[in-house]
Amino acid sequence: MMQLHPQTRRQWQRFREQRRGYYSAIALLLLVLLSCGAELLANNRALVVHYNGDWFFPTYGRFLPGTTFGFDYPHETDYRALQQHFAGEARGNWVLMPPIPWNPYESHAAAGLFPPLAPSLEHRHFLGTDGAGRDIAARLLYGFRLSMAFSLLLLLCNYLIGTIVGIAMGFYGGRFDLVMQRIIEIWSSIPTLYVIMIVASIMLPGFWVLLGIMVFFDWTAMTWYMRTASYKEKARTYVLAARAQGASDWRIITRHLLPNTLTLLITFAPFSITGGITALTALDYLGFGLPPPTPSWGELLREGVARLDSEWIVGSVVVAMITVLVMVTWIGEALREAFDPKKHTVYQ
């Protein structure tokens, strides 16, 4: 049974007192949870189909060919057409579509409709479509999930490597520290963008490749902070005491140094997340990110800038981006405040 440390409880209390940060955290958490179920919100697969007394839940799992529902084609059922078909038949069959009945890849292409289409309730394009006729709301949602996943994974990997190397440098010091410092200095001077451009020109940089490249170059940033922090902490008397009692290096690092430097990691995290989101967006915007037609904010932004006259494109993505980045920044601000040992400072 884990008991919260009184100090942690105090910090949590203080975090809750930062209203906008606290509410942002709740809202963002909700958004992330929602986006995890993006398939239930924006999809061309129906949520529920009631057909001849049978129930179908097509959202997840294998695709259902058109023949399942009495159409004559073997590829995936067109559920929007099915919905209209059932409505016309009036035989008690029905289809429940998600709020946005479009998936982020399909283009709403019908003769006489020239994309980009403006927002319309009739077609349920709440934010309109892009130049290829794809629903912007759906692409924003899936793009959000992707950038969140990307930046969280990036953060996890960077912090893991950065912390291990940083603490080792600070704790062992001496020659190891010296050598590692030089290595990291050289490492950080490799131009990330160039490497990504080169990789992008020879292969399709998928999600994992891109993540790999970013981690490869970005883990170094965290090492400096962790190194300094552990340098400072290891000179403290409690570490000396632990050592005097015969504690091993491993125990000192994991039981004493790490918990005491955790604050640093936590306060940095939100800013790393915004960094991750903007980096991915910037890469997509420049065309070196995830390959088309992956739904991504950067690609939408690029298209929006290219089609300024279709203001719903650039409008949607800019508003979405500002909202998320501001929320994360507020969370970061609140965290910083909550973990501040000098209780009465004001964040300016």
Binding site: S107, L113, G131, G133, T274, L283, P291, P292, D309
Partner: protein
Amino acid sequence: MMLRVWLVLSLCLALLACSSEQETSLVPAKLPQDLQPYPVSATPLPAELVWQTNDSDPEFADPRAVRGGTLRESVPSFPLTLRLVGPDSNGSFAGYMRALSMGLVDVHPNTLRPIPALATHWAFGADHKTVYFRLDPDARWSDGKPVTADDFVFTLEFMRSKHIVAPFYNDYYTTQLTDVIKYDDHTIAVVAGNPKPEDELLVEQVNIRPVPRHFHLLDEQWVRNYNWLPEPGTAAYRVSRVRKGKFVEFERIADWWANDKRYYRHRFNPDRIHVKVVRDNNVAWQYFEKGELDSFGLTLPDFWYNRAQGELFDKGYIHKIWFYNSVPQPAQALWLNMNSPPLDDRRVRVALAHALDFDKVIQTVLHGDYSRMETHNVGYGDYDNKGIKPRALDLPLAVRYLEEAGWTTLDSDGIRSRNGQRLALTVSYGRPEHTERLVILKEEAKKAGIDLQLQLLDSSAFTKKVLEKNHQIASLGWSGGGLSPEYWQFYHSDNANKPQTNNITNFADPAMDALVDQYRAELSKPVRVELAHRMEQMLFDSGAMIPTFKVPYTREAYWAWIKLPTGNATRTSSAVIDAMGNGLFWIDVEEKNRIRALRRRGEPLSAPVTIVDETWK
């Protein structure tokens, strides 16, 4: 991290800015020394030659044209080289560089008959392979040196050299052109490898472009040493300034040797052509609207219908023209690399063709303006095989082919697989505006169980990838031209499976080789037409390429200070504002100042101008 990306980016930009302050030097460090004239032929000129010329076709330039001004254009990426041959020289900038040199004869853009260029007269030999030329004694290189028979003789030596790393030219100038004979300084004969009908022999086969002998030092270092050295040309412009990554500028040769020749006077009117790199088409559009580019292609429906609207057009500052031409269509297609499994299986290729919904693309994102391309070669008159209809969307058929080929398992997304391998095909392309078309194709192909993966590349990187045959499917168009279709470079096994040739489907079929060879050797047009039809049919049967779209017109917007000649352009104009091609328009410098003043005051110039010219439709 973001900060890092931007820091790196700005650092690169700063470095780029510093390094490009200096313009590239355009003169070779070392020139060939002590050139001895080539010996003249031992056998005299045949006596029975009938010399022909053409000085009676109508002139197509407008005598009202005035010289002056600078035409500003943009290209999406900086060329990888300024050489005319050798690695990476067949990129999109090659059009500019090739326009700097003339051939022996040219083709009248309206009557399609031969007209003099570097040669004033020509005569056909009895063997249907040799053509004799009298060179124009006035002809000069852009550096002032006279053009002589030696430059033509040198062409063979140059094009056959291993140092230029151009297997296509090496072979072409060995098998297709066997000899250049010098009779005196201004009389030569060019001998083709195979007999040809007279018109094609003259205009295409032996119509070589001289290579300035005094400029090239051929050695192992040639490709590197001459990468940024524009060779002297014979046409009206020469490269005057180059700033790598930024721009290439051409200047009009004021005392160009052909200034007063029939068919060449009143043409090539701007004093300078400034070609600037603008990497993004949308940014280029902003430049154009600001008046920093003089013209802009509006062939894309989105531009013609949506962008080219508003004040600048309503007030008559910018004009629009929709000009129907009659030219061989660029071969726009998806080119399938048959060496890249599973595209080595004909059934997969054919299934793919039946799984793509081109009609849907035409009816939506293309506004119904484009039509479906039928085969590789369209627009060559009798040579067109009108019996071939492109494979249309037919999902059941596509599925049947795929199942026959063993792609029977469907995964949970409906994508097929065979022995655990997914049916995923990569389409590489170099123009961002094609994304919209391809995503529609992708979605439809999914219904047949094919996963098309799109790979958008920078246009230079794309060219490199395709010419090195590293693509799986390439979406591109070859510009067409000439009097009859070309097959050897695209479908002969000589060019398959080696880098830097145009056989990007890696088509290698002995039956096709036989037809291609026969076609190249044949003299009678009806037989050639028949052969072309058979080759086109064989190509169709193989499914090696999937024809996409054709556009039998050009659409452009241009600032009103650009004046078009009577008739706007010619029958074969692929562009209206085409400075180095026909070069018929001119810039009214005074009008330019007037329009700028009007624009500052917000006063209109005229009613909106949209020209639709269907003369050649």
